[in-house]
């Protein structure tokens, strides 16, 4: 509603009139005892909410109503709450910005390791440790490969005869593998002229537990088997070796071996 500005002072049929809106506003304020600027302290937001939701006594409601006439700030706050109360969101599906804001808030509330600063630092520290460990492992591996490529003198050899061919089947062939040795050689001699095409080797410890098995072995042209094994193929101890036909697992020969520490 606007009161169109007209000339400031004049008389109409003997009456003084004013078309000035500010004059009318001043008259309204004076008649209501309002100053136009809020006196005293502003109501707390909780009181404004109580006013809007009708939880105040008549006296308190009158007081706040009077304050609102003078105070634009409190009026604006109250209208904000009214706006919120008129909203009727359809769903709880977040738009893109709200979803992004929630991820931030979730990290703050629940300490999400994937996004919180602490989590990022912890993740970075873990990755640094893994990288360091991986680096050390790669260096060790390279050294080992270098040693494996180098020629080795006086390779330890365990030359085993089948138990069935030995005078004392309880005797043990021993092999000592020096600390600086990289590989050692296991020779399995055959007495029987087996017709098997492929062989299976099975190694058990002194308590009968299988420690390794190799399939697909083939005889050497000289009639036996020569296996080049790494130093740590099996730990020191007493072992029994069974050589079997690779097709039907029929035992062909058996051997005993002690690997000394």
């Amino acid at each position: 509603m606007r009161c169109a500005p007209r000339s400031a002072w004049r008389t109409v049929r003997g009456k003084l009139v004013s078309t000035s809106k500010p004059d009318l506003v001043v008259a309204l304020r004076e008649s209501l005892g309002e100053s136009g600027s809020p006196a005293g302290s502003h109501p707390a937001p909780e009181e404004l909410a109580d006013y809007l939701e009708g939880r105040l006594s008549a006296g308190a409601e009158e007081e706040i109503g009077s304050h609102l006439l003078d105070c634009e700030d409190c009026s604006a706050l109250l209208l904000e709450l009214d706006g919120l109360k008129r909203e009727t969101p359809e769903t709880v599906v977040a738009d893109f910005e709200t979803a992004a804001a929630w991820r931030h808030q979730r990290a703050r509330l629940f300490g999400d390791a994937s996004t919180s600063w602490f989590g990022v630092r912890a993740l970075a520290a873990s990755l640094a440790l893994v990288s360091l460990g991986l680096g050390v492992w790669i260096v060790a591996l390279e050294r080992r490969l270098e040693r494996l490529r180098a020629p080795q003198l006086e390779v330890p050899i365990a030359n085993l005869e089948p138990l069935g061919s030995m005078r004392d089947p309880g005797s043990l062939t021993s092999v000592a593998i020096p600390a600086d040795a990289i590989r050692w050689v296991l020779i399995l001699n055959l007495i029987e002229d087996s017709e098997a095409q492929v062989y299976r080797l099975e190694m058990t410890d002194s308590e009968g537990r299988r420690v390794t098995a190799q399939d697909g072995l083939r005889k050497s042209p000289t009639g036996g088997f020569r296996l080049s094994l790494p130093r740590d193929f099996v730990p020191p101890g007493v072992y029994r070796i069974r050589l079997a036909d690779g097709r039907d697992d029929r035992t062909i020969e058996e051997y005993s071996l002690r690997i000394e520490p």
């Binding site: 509603m1 937001p45 809007l52 209208l79 709450l81």
Partner: protein
């Protein structure tokens, strides 16, 4: 489309579950999604920079969710969230040490100058004649008498409309009146003032 009452009931269900420690993250997310757009808008409409708006909205909802156990259903959750946001805004103003007055203030002086092409300055510069001083006194008396002839509630409606240029619904909200009552008050006030002050009281444009 759900009504606001239905929405309130749903939100209250989330709050109760959250307070009971049930589906804490999911219920927190739902409440956040429900209120974040409004809270961000609340701060955004107060002229803050986007980053400040975002930070205050996040802080407000962090406080809402952290203190949700203290919400006792004495008010609606809307009112509770509103109170936390409004307090955060007032704290921010205090922190900045700025005036609480904000937004578009309707200055009587400036409006007078704008609408009447500097008449106020012109009048102020004129030396009032004795006849004019008498007219001024009579004019104010007549205006005051006409205004006092209106019921107090009608005067309040008129004041908010003329001074703040608020919408009918906003006036209804602030004065806790029916929308139709506001319209009727304004219509009747125009007629009664015109009757009391004369036909050329003013051309009301609504």
């Amino acid at each position: 489309m759900t009504t606001h009452q239905e929405q309130d009931a749903v939100v209250l269900g989330w709050v109760r579950e959250l307070q009971a420690g049930s589906a804490v993250e999911e219920n927190s997310r739902r409440i956040f999604v429900r209120y974040f757009p409004w809270v961000r808008g609340f701060f955004g409409r107060r002229g803050l920079a986007p980053q400040e708006t975002e930070d205050l909205a996040q802080d407000t909802l962090f406080q809402v969710l952290r203190e949700i156990g203290q919400f006792g259903e004495r008010s609606s959750l809307d009112a509770w969230v509103f109170a936390i946001a409004a307090n955060a805004w007032r704290n921010e103003l205090r922190r900045r040490g700025t005036s609480k007055r904000r937004g578009q203030e309707v200055s009587l002086d400036s409006e007078d100058r704008d609408q009447e092409s500097g008449r106020a300055l012109e009048v102020a510069g004129e030396e009032p004649t004795p006849e004019r001083a008498v007219f001024e006194q009579q004019r104010k008396r007549a205006l005051r008498a006409a205004v006092e002839g209106l019921p107090p509630q009608m005067r309040r409606v008129l004041l908010l409309r003329l001074d703040r240029e608020l919408k009918y619904r906003e006036i209804a909200t602030l004065l806790k009146l029916n929308l139709e009552t506001v319209k009727a008050h304004l219509f009747q006030a125009r007629d009664r003032l015109r009757e009391a002050l004369g036909e050329e009281f003013g051309e009301w444009q609504d």
